[in-house]
């Protein structure tokens, strides 16, 4: 209830163009959005750029927000669309570059994201999430980490709730397969 009140206050503040409200929203959502962006793009520099663009859009749309805007859903919707655009641009770049693989080649070295893992279990988990197809990874991150409801995720991604439940089941099965002994 408290969180809801804070959110309502933030939306009201944003609609007034109050930078203090913006700072509060930035502090509340920056880590969550960055986690989603970095695990979707697998690149810190890109995640930072998309984080900036997400908050830039919030700043520019601040006065046009509806009173009942759910900021989490709004921000993740923008972030999702930015990830989609980035993915499309990557695919076009890869196509123009010839038959180069769209994804990074497998490497035995740790990626910057994997370098955050303190234990073998964390590393295995990070790799298992990274190995998921983007559509499954996205749902697994939004539901598993962000704790969003499948119906809310369906709204963010613009798909039916049934599709989200299906992706959840597949993500869970693929993770179990990847993790094997590390579970």
């Amino acid at each position: 209830m408290e969180a809801l009140t804070a959110e309502t206050d933030w939306v009201a503040g944003l609609r007034r163009g109050d930078p203090g409200a913006f700072d509060a929203v930035f502090a509340a959502y920056r880590r969550r959005l960055y986690g989603y962006l970095v695990r979707m793009t697998r690149r810190r520099d890109v995640a930072e750029d998309l984080l900036q663009e997400t908050f830039l859009r919030l700043a520019q749309h601040a006065k046009r927000l509806a009173d009942d805007t759910r900021l989490g859903a709004w921000l993740f919707t923008v972030a999702h669309r930015l990830v989609q655009s980035w993915g499309r641009a990557q695919a076009v770049r890869a196509a123009l570059a010839g038959d180069l693989p769209a994804q990074e080649p497998a490497s035995t070295e740790r990626s910057p994201l994997e370098a955050l893992a303190d234990t073998q279990t964390q590393l295995a988990l990070e790799r298992a999430f990274a190995a998921l197809a983007p559509a499954y990874r996205e749902v697994a991150l939004l539901v598993g980490i962000e704790g969003l409801q499948p119906a809310e995720v369906a709204e963010i991604l613009g798909v039916r709730p049934d599709a989200i439940r299906q992706r959840l089941a597949r993500a869970r099965a693929q993770l179990a397969e990847h993790l094997g002994d590390h579970r």
Binding site: D23, R31, Q60, L116, Q122, V143, G144, R165, L168, R172
Partner: protein, 78 residues
Amino acid sequence: MTDKPEKDDDAMKLADLARGLPPTDVDPAAAERIAALTRRDVGHGPPKRRVVEAALVAVLVLATLAWVAMKIYEMLGR
């Protein structure tokens, strides 16, 4: 009949797994830079440059369409 609990179970199992992921956060210096860059746009709407660009593109497209229509009319008139 057991479909929904199984699906809720997927969400719970994923949440359990996700708790084991290492925490991530944007570099503090980058966070400060992003906050400063974006904060100044609060309530200002899209930058004027973007509006001007969109208007220029619209004018260009309309002019091209008008030119094409004129050429077609000329060809048909002959």
